[in-house]
Amino acid sequence: MAVPLTAYLVVAALLFAIGVYAVIAQRSAVMILMGIEVLLNAIGLNLIAFWRFVNPGDYSAQIFAIIIITVGAVEMGIGLAIMLLLYRNRSSVQVDDYAELRG
């Protein structure tokens, strides 16, 4: 392995940082969901990188990554359904249009 583990981890860290930016800075709920997907992806990359370098004999890490992908897919499905409902009721998926919980 010519490329060291740290290189992969740095890529994952940067992906995470970009995901954080997207989640906070985007107004549309769909874009926020996409930011969350980037966060999940960064985590997955971490998992796989550690698996490859630390314990390649045990494939459990890949199972975890698969479960993360699954959870991401389910989250996307439910999130889109909720957005569909919101859109149907108020013609908007901008998150700051839903501020009823303001104290």
Partner: protein, 269 residues
Amino acid sequence: MSLGEMAEWFAFLVLALISLAGALGMATTMSMFRSGIFLMASFIGVAGLFILLSADLLGLLQIMMYIGGMLVMILFMVLFSMDPGGAMMADMKMSLVERFFSLGLSSGKKDDGGGDMEHGGHDGGGMEHGGDGGDGGGMEHGGDGGDGGGMDMSMTTPVKGWAALLGLANGALLTGLLLLRPAWPESTEQPNPDSAEQIGNLLMGKYMMAFEGAGLLILIGIFGAVLIGRTSRYPDDRSRTAYVTVDAPPPEVEESAGDVVARDSKEGD
């Protein structure tokens, strides 16, 4: 450095660049459609990294999941958003990064190809089988940028600067931490090349409960999504509307002249 190592470094750098640039593009471009495509590029880059890390099955799985998934997601964005193509953003104030990733967006001016319009003008009404999907899109951007004047068009929140700062700080902190401690307990073991069989055995053996649990989760997710997303069979059932509806009705959708022209031309052929 041997040729193989050089090739590996090259592949790593290209893939890392794709995944990072894709993610950055997703977060900063003005076109929502492009956002989705950028995110997909990022996913494919990460999948390439997976394959480079000898997790080939997982990499392919990721590509398969997200090509279909993201295309559908982008479709939803097109339906939901004011300006999925980013045409109205073309002359807004943008930062350097945003400007780069929004380069060459189709601008707001109309084409002259026989009444066809740019994205703002897609409406489902004129299509033969366009179905309900097109309607949402047409309703929202039928206005063609003209009637969106009073609305807040920005794609980003007021705390964008803070978010950028936080993201930068986060990235710097984590990278710094990683660079400060490069020594991990690494193993020299080589993974089994047939990862599909390994994963299959684990999924059907040791992690069967987790596997079944994930299956159940998906099933429940499908149920939930269908339950939330379907329209009520009974028009006076307010059970699903009561919680989010405000008293003021949504603004009326007016058919702009463009729509009528488009529809006429459609019926003509």
